[in-house]
């Protein structure tokens, strides 16, 4: 069932003016003392440092995040206030799992297109170094009751209902609430369904690391990462610490499966890892950008969101959103020269690429005559991806948009597609057009 493609609205165009992010660090590293809003404001401050932008020009702030700290449930507002965006500028938080920042960006795009604002700041933030660990439900309820208790007898009665296991904390895990499956288990299921092999998976993972490492060495990623200096020592952090240039297929082959010990193909080496970091992207109405003297990097031409069965289609977001995006814009795979697709797992990438060239899938799932075809690897994630660079859930979308625009400008090509999957069997694809041609 193809989603009916509405006509792409003509009118005000939203452009990506600048993007920047913090270095992405493995969780429990240098970012450990910081809350998600701290990382978010580091990213926004980094963007200001890079662009010299006067924050008073900003009219809207939308940031994505996934694991929320209850103290900063609208983390976008704390980021904006903390980074000295003027108080009068509204800020809100979007959450759509691993494409939360994509939602932040497209929300800003809509505000710009509708003439609500001219300048918007989006992006996202995530820390896994300080997960909101909760008390068990029984213990929580007992504590609530205790507040109303009168006298020692009440106390004893309430506490007496608790069992020893109730003191074990409730640690959140990346699992589907509706199906109970973890992401890794979901991906094993997906890999098996699409016949993905261990070798293919390890090859893709090794490729991701080697490419990310090369992009750092060639100075490509340094251009979109603003170094952060962390209080109280203010030592400089200026690099991602995920990419390992010496990763080989042989090395990866030695690792044990992480999710399905017996028959699994997915290892820690071929999965994106727990990462802390944040991204910030500056969007403007096209005419406002030129008024202010900024050279826009890319136009955000169109986007689509889609969703499917959270059990069978988990992690398949790119497969069922990219064809829709291309069709409604009258584009073929060959028209797009820059692909940035979120790598949740190497196996998930292989499965999605396979589905995208599968005519049966196209017909049955999307109601299209045929599949869009093969996405050439030399156009896909050529500066590494989430498997190597890391994946702070709420921030990744900002990274993908910035890298896509950057790659368009460097290559002088016209179109880029940014796509990703998200928990709940959802996905998104965004079409960018080079604004510097």
């Amino acid at each position: 069932m193809a989603k009916k493609a509405p006509k792409v609205t003509k009118g005000r165009e939203a452009v990506l003016v600048a993007g920047s992010r913090t270095p992405f660090l493995k969780s429990n590293g240098a970012y450990r003392p910081f809350m998600a809003h701290d990382l978010g404001r580091f990213a926004v401050q980094g963007l200001f440092e890079r662009t010299g932008l006067d924050p008073a020009l900003i009219e809207l702030v939308v940031m994505g995040t996934v694991v929320q700290d209850p103290r900063t449930s609208n983390v976008a507002r704390e980021i904006a206030l903390g980074a000295q965006v003027p108080q009068r500028v509204p800020a809100f938080t979007t959450t759509l799992a691993c494409i939360s920042a994509n939602v932040a960006a497209t929300t800003c795009v809509e505000h710009i297109r509708a003439g609500q604002v001219d300048v918007a700041l989006c992006g996202g933030t995530e820390t896994f170094s300080d997960p909101p660990i909760r008390l068990s439900k029984n213990l929580r309820q007992a504590l609530v009751k205790l507040q109303k208790a009168k006298g020692p007898a009440d106390y004893l009665a309430i506490l007496g209902q608790l069992s020893p296991k109730d003191v074990i904390p409730d640690i959140p895990s990346a699992s589907e609430f509706s199906t109970g499956l973890t992401m890794g288990q979901g991906c094993e299921r997906l890999a098996r369904r699409w016949g993905v092999t261990r070798e293919e998976t390890d090859e893709f993972a090794a490729r991701s690391h080697v490419l990310a490492d090369r992009a750092w060495k060639e100075g490509l990623l340094a251009e979109e990462v603003a170094p952060v200096q962390l209080p109280p020592k203010f030592d400089t952090v200026d690099k991602d610490n995920g990419p390992r240039g010496d990763t080989t297929v042989e090395g990866l082959a030695k690792l044990k499966p992480a999710f399905d010990k017996k028959h699994g193909i997915i290892t820690a080496g071929s999965s994106s890892f727990l990462t802390d970091g944040a991204s910030a992207v500056l969007l403007m109405a096209e005419e406002r950008a030129s008024e202010l003297g900024y050279d826009a990097k890319a136009k955000i031409k169109d986007y689509t969101y889609g969703a499917g069965d959270p059990l069978e289609e988990l992690l398949m977001g790119p497969a069922f959103t990219i064809p829709v995006l291309l069709e409604r814009n009258g584009l073929s795979v060959d028209d797009v020269d820059v692909w940035e697709i979120h790598e949740a797992f190497a196996a998930q990438m292989v499965a999605n690429l396979r589905a995208l060239k599968d005519d049966t899938f196209a017909k049955e799932r999307l109601g299209m005559k045929k599949a869009i075809g093969e996405i050439p690897l030399e156009k896909l994630n050529v500066w590494g991806g989430s498997v190597s660079v890391g994946h702070p859930f709420g921030a990744t979308g900002g990274r993908l948009l910035t890298t896509a625009a950057h790659r368009l400008n460097l290559s002088g090509k016209k179109y880029a597609v940014v796509a990703g999957c998200a928990a709940g069997g959802q996905g998104s694809a965004i079409l960018l057009e080079n604004a510097q041609l």
Binding site: R50, D54, L81, Q84, Q229, F234, D235
Partner: protein
């Protein structure tokens, strides 16, 4: 945030009632409560002037004599101020201690009437309640203040060489305890609402809105007996120390020892405060008040107080921008160089709400600068002066960068790069490619002539000097230097930025060393000569501290940096010619070569933080014994390497030390040069000269600055001291023309000098 609208409405109403007479105090009855509103229509803030005092008397009479009135409220009609203190001009007009004493007695009499009234009176405090303003509140029966940034309470009289003369020395210790009261009166510090509540200075802290209504309600309840002022509960420790004669003796002895240590015994006011509090606590309130008035009268006539008051007036006068309001309201400041000075300038800018683009050439440099700012802000967070979030926001307004992105938004760019003319030229040429045509370029140099720096500029009319002092966030002075080409517009903007950064700004003309560095140079030159003569470094420092400088010259050179000192001395030598001593500047060069740069290299004339401190028992006992016999810590150890260098360059050791002569040699070289600056037109007026020397160089505040000092000892005596020194030590002491002129005519630099 303003006071409640209801408050404003009512003050307008009462103003209408008393239309015609521009009263400073308005009365309005609300039920059985008489609301007494201070609102001097002729002034921005309420001060206890003569007019006020007369009306206050009438107001209190109305309160006491009107039978319908059961209670009272004292409140201000000003937006964010209660009463800022007494009008100091009243004091200055006095010609004798008796006259000053009478001012105190009159005030005391009125406040006694208020305090002894059976009708309860509530002080409703929003904004500053300082000095006499707080004393009025102290005489009330109940105090309510607002939770607001501008609400502060304090007794700062000590900073003017005075004591609180309106009963403050007696009522405050009885309200908050002797130790807390002494702390407030001896430091003059401001107390914020939360602290005030905690220490018992106020009874309630309320929202800034609806203060008037809350106060009226409290007054009604106090009258009805349903609300009472709660006496402070003494902690066991306070009871032991304050509740009996012996304990109090310890408290007062400790207080005197502390004051002695901090002031070198040079300031009479703090001792007088302790005396008066002690007198009152031991002999009762009535005797205490009498003593307070008597000592207030005495202090009002001391030269120390006259000097401190003149500095106060000078500072107040300098809050006005002599070039007028600038055309643009600067919001964004650029700073080049994130070193000690650059980061300091960025800090005082962001703390006052500026956005700062801070550029350096490396992330190491930026990180160092950011750390300097963060450390200070975090210190404030620890003191609860700001929250962690506010600290982070303040940090976020410093945009740390390696390029010039955003510099086009700056209205002023202040460079704080290394003191090297070629480098400054390169910087100015580079930055001018990124800033807009009206952007002011300011050089934070301590000695390089601004005219020379401006040579590299396309727009020399936009070039000024902004000479900050280190550490920037602590030192109150900013010396703005204008050249012949500097436009009025650029000068106005530079002064405006300095004022907003919270600085006391003097404006001087360009010339070698401008004003402050120029008068410091001969002072340091003489220090080098005296050092070579063999006066022991600690002894020498102490001699100048006894004169009233907060830091001795040797320690100062270590702070400034010996390399900087040598550099400046060399740069300025041709200008001074025979006014510079025969001091061997090779000795300083040798120090630099040996790596003895002062505190920053941990070795200068003294040694700093050499490894972990000796904490063994023997060492501790020795230092305890030294303290016990009043010797104190002898301070930092002398660097033996520095001594050797001095010896190698012909330095002597030992020898007789003539304290007064050393003080004269040091001070008079600075004073003589200062007068020369006025003569040369570097200085516009003596007030700027006094303020600059005191707040920039630590010239003894109680002496009021070089010009006030000459006025107080007499120009004739100054000339004769200099001539004697010139005979003995050479031409560098030759009194300058203007000084000789004043000596002949008897003219004073300050027309008000007594």
């Amino acid at each position: 945030m303003t006071a409640t609208t209801a408050e404003k409405d009512s003050s307008q109403k009462s103003a209408k009632k008393s239309a015609g007479a521009a009263n400073a105090i308005q009365l309005e009855k609300v039920g059985e409560v008489l609301v007494i509103t201070f609102d001097d229509p002729d002034a921005k803030v309420n001060t206890l002037s003569e007019k006020f005092s007369a009306e206050l008397k009438d107001a209190f009479d109305a309160l006491l004599n009107d039978h319908e009135v059961k209670a009272g409220v004292l409140i201000s009609g000003k937006k964010d101020g209660f009463i800022a203190g007494a009008d100091i001009k009243m004091l200055q007009a006095c010609r004798s201690a008796q006259e000053v004493e009478r001012l105190s007695r009159d005030m005391q009499a009125e406040l006694d009437k208020l305090e002894s009234s059976k009708k309860p009176v509530v002080a409703a405090i929003h904004g500053q309640a300082l000095g006499g303003g707080l004393e009025v509140a102290l005489a009330c029966h109940y105090r309510i203040c607002t939770e607001h940034k501008k609400t502060v309470m304090g007794l700062p009289e000590v900073m003017l060489g005075l004591l609180p003369g309106g009963g403050g020395t007696q009522r405050l210790p009885r309200l908050v305890g002797i130790q807390a009261a002494l702390d407030m009166m001896l430091t003059g510090k401001n107390i914020r609402p939360k602290k005030a509540k905690k220490m018992g200075l106020v009874d309630e802290v309320v929202l800034p809105y609806g203060l008037r209504e809350v106060a009226i309600e409290a007054a009604q309840k106090l009258a009805a007996g349903t609300l009472k002022h709660k006496e402070r509960e003494l902690s066991p420790q306070d009871r032991a120390l304050e509740d009996n004669f012996a304990g109090r003796a310890i408290v007062f002895r400790q207080a005197r020892a502390m004051v002695e240590k901090q002031t070198n015994g040079l300031y009479p006011a703090p001792f007088a405060i302790i005396d008066v509090v002690e007198h009152g606590m031991n002999k009762g309130m009535k005797k205490g008040l009498e003593e307070e008035s008597r000592r207030f009268g005495e202090l009002g006539m001391t030269p120390e107080s006259a000097s401190l008051m003149s500095l106060f007036f000078g500072q107040t006068a300098l809050k006005k921008n002599r070039f007028g309001k600038p055309d643009v309201a600067t919001q964004t400041v650029g700073v080049l160089g994130a070193g000690l000075m650059g980061a300091g300038i960025a800090m005082v800018s962001t703390m006052k709400g500026y956005r700062v683009h801070l550029k350096d050439i490396s992330y190491e440099g930026l990180g160092r600068g950011r750390k300097q700012i963060w450390d200070e802000l975090d210190r404030r967070r620890k003191r609860k002066a700001m929250t962690a979030f506010e600290r982070d926001q303040t940090m976020a307004n410093v945009v740390a960068q390696l390029d010039y992105a955003g510099f086009n938004n700056c209205d002023v760019v202040i460079e704080a790069v290394f003191e090297d003319l070629k480098l400054k030229h390169r910087v100015i040429e580079e930055v001018e490619q990124h800033i807009h045509d009206d952007c002011v370029f300011a050089s934070n140099t301590s000695a390089l002539p601004i005219t020379d720096i401006a040579q590299a500029s396309k727009r020399p009319e936009n070039v000024v000097g902004m000479h900050y002092f280190s550490p920037v966030h602590k030192m109150p002075l900013l010396e703005v230097i204008v050249t012949d080409k500097t436009s009025k517009k650029a000068s106005a903007l530079a002064v405006d930025v300095g004022l907003k950064q919270g600085k006391t700004v003097i404006v001087v003309k360009d010339g070698p060393g401008f004003y402050t560095t120029r008068i410091l140079a001969p002072y340091m030159d003489e220090a080098a000569v005296i050092g070579m003569e063999g006066v022991e470094f600690h002894r020498f420092d102490q001699i100048m501290k006894d004169f009233g400088f907060p830091v001795g010259p040797i320690a100062l050179l270590d702070e400034v940096g010996i390399d900087v000192g040598a550099h400046v001395a060399k740069d300025m030598a041709p200008f001074f010619k025979d006014r510079m001593a025969a001091a061997d500047s090779d000795a300083l060069d040798a120090m630099v070569k040996a790596g003895f740069l002062g505190r920053k290299s941990k070795k200068g004339f003294f040694l700093y933080d050499q490894g972990p401190k000796k904490k063994d028992a023997a060492h501790q006992i020795v230092s305890m014994l030294k303290k016990a016999v009043g010797q104190g810590d002898e301070g930092k150890p002398i660097n033996p390497g520095a001594l050797e260098i001095f010896k190698a360059h012909g330095g002597k050791s030992g020898g007789k030390v003539d304290v007064t002569e050393i003080q004269h040699r040091m001070a008079m070289r600075m004073v003589n040069e200062a007068v020369m600056c006025l003569e040369d037109g570097i200085l516009d007026n003596p007030v700027d000269g006094d303020i600059g020397a005191v707040f920039g160089l630590g010239f003894p505040p109680f002496r009021g600055g070089p010009f006030r000092y000459v006025d107080s000892i007499g120009a004739g005596r100054a000339v004769s001291i200099l001539e004697k020194l010139a005979d003995k030590y050479g031409k560098r002491f030759a009194p300058t023309g203007l000084l000789v002129e004043h000596a002949k005519s008897g003219k004073k630099f300050h027309p008000d000098a007594k």
